[in-house]
């Protein structure tokens, strides 16, 4: 029997996206009963699964892969048997050709042609020899890693299409945050002890059989089973606060408005909207309001095309890099999971268009958008226009937080202001204005819930510090030991110290050897050791000669030790360089996935 949702709760969570649900789930596990307020009619936020006439589709495809074992375990526990493993197939449409993605050397060479490939290679070499000395923009960051030609032809048009601005206006920090890759320490560890996880993450992924919605429904069930509530179709209209404490949340459910008192508030709503909610008494400083108002988001329009064809192409998705097309990415939901379509003889495609509120694309009617999508699909040669038998359009505002120049400062202003509220935490992609994937968003939710229970986690450290909580606690001692071994193995050798030490030891050996024979005496003292004078000019087997031998022994020992340490350090540095480049290549292989 469904219990009516209460109008009071110790913890209120705004938004039933992955972060909000993860927070609620963590709380009910600890016997705290939160209420989640969701303005939509289904859970999942921008990772939800929509359904139209039995066709299921994501708002953008959502792979379930993570380096975080705890999040992976949580997904598997909640969904139980619902996951399928999907072998990834994806391509990039570039200049009239389809290239395998992640890039395959021979495929790229044959599709791009020898001349273009040569230019790209030369440009890459140039970027390695003479990179941009400073990396302030996305353009510089990418060019330094891929070469300017590949950047200009390949990445610039797609990135500009996705973010709606030229790449020289996107700060390099954004790329740094998105493309974490492997740390040098991790790369060395993998090189020494082997690790296939990073590679396999690129080539296959988990996916709920009926789309991510299945996962969020399972989360809602688990939350409800343990006394929590998810209130759908409930809009947050305002936040009441006194003395830097949130006291109540004004809600609207249908026509009914009411206020829910609150002990702790966890919000995943976009920061600009949160600040606006707090500002109904004009208490927010002007600088904070200004910073919040300049935080922008990129919207997504998904035009679903249903085609009377059982198979079109094998990819789960195709990136469309050509500037001549408005579509940025095409999803083939049937290839994510056959259960995403009700009729195996038909195919549903999701044509993704990126837009800003009020721009030309977002102002187009559903019919016009459908017509553009069908036309572009035909121009790409993927299907005929007349194969499209039905269309459906989903508009998702605030899909991607936009990183523009100075966003970090603005974010800090907002963060500092919100930190002043003792019972408020913000989580998730929009709640923190950070382009996190599901796993990191959920992590912020889990940590926020633990903070409510008394912990003191820094949510901003998630996905900022590469290793933050990405490992099982039991692994840490082993990791520390591994790091110690690596540090010891690859640490630099002090050249002069080794030179002096070896010089002293060898000098002393010659000194003692000479003096020993002098002390022993005899008719002819040390005729054989005397042969050293061939190399040590002025040397004799005498007391004076012992000092000369010490000098020569020290000199040669020093030179040998110094050069030994120099060569050893050089070879270690070359090895580190090779390992770092390999790690960089690995982390950049699926670069476009992170844009």
């Amino acid at each position: 029997m469904n219990r009516p949702p209460p109008d009071t709760a110790p913890v209120l969570i705004i938004g039933a996206g992955p972060a909000g649900l993860a927070a609620a789930h963590e709380l009910v596990r600890q016997d705290v009963h939160p209420v989640v307020l969701e303005k939509g009619d289904k859970a999942g936020g921008i990772a939800r699964t929509e359904v139209y006439r039995g066709y299921r589709f994501d708002i953008g495809g959502h792979r379930f892969f993570t380096k975080n074992d705890a999040v992976m375990k949580l997904w598997q526990t909640v969904l139980d048997q619902g996951f399928i493993t999907v072998h990834r197939i994806s391509r990039i449409y570039y200049d009239g050709r389809f290239l395998d993605y992640p890039l395959n050397f021979f495929n790229a060479l044959t599709r791009m042609g020898a001349t273009e490939s040569l230019f790209i290679l030369l440009s890459y070499l140039r970027s390695q020899i003479r990179p941009y000395p400073e990396e302030e923009t996305f353009e510089q960051w990418v060019s330094n890693r891929f070469g300017r030609r590949l950047y200009g032809k390949f990445f610039a048009p797609y990135t500009a299409k996705l973010w709606g601005m030229p790449c020289d206006r996107i700060p390099a920090d954004w790329a740094r945050q998105r493309i974490k890759g492997l740390s040098l320490m991790a790369a060395l560890s993998h090189a020494l002890f082997g690790n296939q996880k990073a590679k396999s993450l690129i080539h296959e992924f988990h996916y709920p059989e009926k789309g991510p919605g299945m996962m969020w429904e399972a989360f809602c069930e688990k939350i409800a089973e343990k006394g929590g509530h998810v209130r759908f179709d409930t809009k947050v209209m305002g936040l009441n606060h006194t003395n830097r404490r949130i006291t109540g949340v004004k809600c609207m459910e249908g026509d009914r408005t009411f206020e829910m008192p609150v002990e702790h508030l966890i919000s995943s709503m976009p920061l600009d909207k949160l600040i606006a909610m707090l500002d109904h008494h004009r208490v927010v400083p002007a600088g904070v309001s200004k910073a919040a108002n300049s935080m922008s988001h990129r919207g997504l329009i998904l035009v679903v095309l249903i085609l009377d064809k059982d198979a079109l192409f094998p990819d789960q998705w195709i990136y469309i890099h050509g500037p001549g097309f408005k579509v940025g990415r095409i999803q083939n939901f049937k290839n994510w999971s056959p259960a995403m379509v009700p009729d195996p003889h038909r195919t549903s495609l999701g044509m993704e268009y990126f837009c800003n509120e009020g721009d030309r694309l977002s102002s187009m009617s559903d019919e016009a958008l459908s017509a553009v999508a069908a036309s572009e699909l035909a121009r790409l040669g993927l299907a005929e226009k007349n194969q499209v038998i039905d269309t459906f359009v989903v508009r998702q505002p605030d899909a991607y937080p936009v990183y523009t120049s100075g966003y970090e400062k603005r974010l800090k202003v907002i963060g500092d202001f919100l930190d002043g509220f003792e019972n408020l935490q913000t989580i998730g992609r929009n709640g923190m204005h950070r382009y996190n994937n599901m796993d990191h968003s959920m992590q912020t939710g889990i940590l926020a819930a633990r903070n409510v229970l008394g912990a003191d986690h820094d949510l901003w450290a998630v996905n900022e510090e590469a290793e933050y909580l990405e490992e099982d606690a039991s692994v840490s001692p082993r990791r520390t030991l591994t790091e110690k071994m690596i540090l010891q193995s690859f640490a630099g050798m002090d050249k002069s110290a080794l030179g002096i030490a070896l010089g002293t030891v060898s000098g002393l050996l010659f000194f003692v050897a000479t003096l020993w024979l002098v002390i022993k005496g005899g008719e002819v003292v040390g005729p054989n050791l005397q042969l050293l004078s061939q190399y040590f000019f002025g040397y004799t087997v005498s007391v004076k000669g012992a000092f000369i031998a010490f000098f020569y022994g020290f000199l040669w020992g020093f030179l040998f030790g110094w050069f030994f340490a120099y060569l050893r350090n050089l070879l270690v540095a070359l090895h580190l360089f090779r390992v770092r480049k390999k790690a960089e290549r690995l982390s950049l292989r699926d670069f476009v996935d992170h844009i």
Binding site: E135, L487, G492, D494, A501, V505, L508, W516
Partner: protein, 111 residues
């Protein structure tokens, strides 16, 4: 304003910026085994090769290693002498090296 080399240098420094310390005991042990084995093998090699006289030049080691001869028994004695010398030289080498490193980094000798 961030420079391209910053993250890389930072990470590389984390590893190569750490100065290697020598383990005095292990270095002493390794050089002891190395020196001792070298004399043992060199002596027995000449014995196997034979000739008259056997190893007159190696026999000169007896100037420093009393009791040493180019015989199997001598090779065992040579092993002991060599090991003692190697152990001492290795230990001294490691001790001086670590001492200089610590001195340069302004650390107190905790060894």
């Amino acid at each position: 304003m961030k420079k391209i080399v910053e993250p890389v240098t930072h990470e590389t420094d984390e590893i190569t910026g750490y100065v290697l310390r020598l383990n005095v005991k292990i270095l002493g042990l390794v050089l002891a085994l190395l020196f001792g084995s070298a004399i043992f093998v060199a002596t027995n090699w000449l014995i196997i090769k034979g000739g008259e006289p056997v190893g007159p030049h190696l026999q000169l080691l007896s100037q420093y290693f009393p009791g040493y001869r180019v015989t199997f028994g001598g090779s065992l004695i040579g092993f002991i002498y060599g090991a003692a010398l190697g152990g001492f030289a290795g230990g001294l080498l490691g001790w001086i090296y670590n001492g200089i490193v610590m001195l340069k980094r302004g650390e107190k000798n905790s060894a």
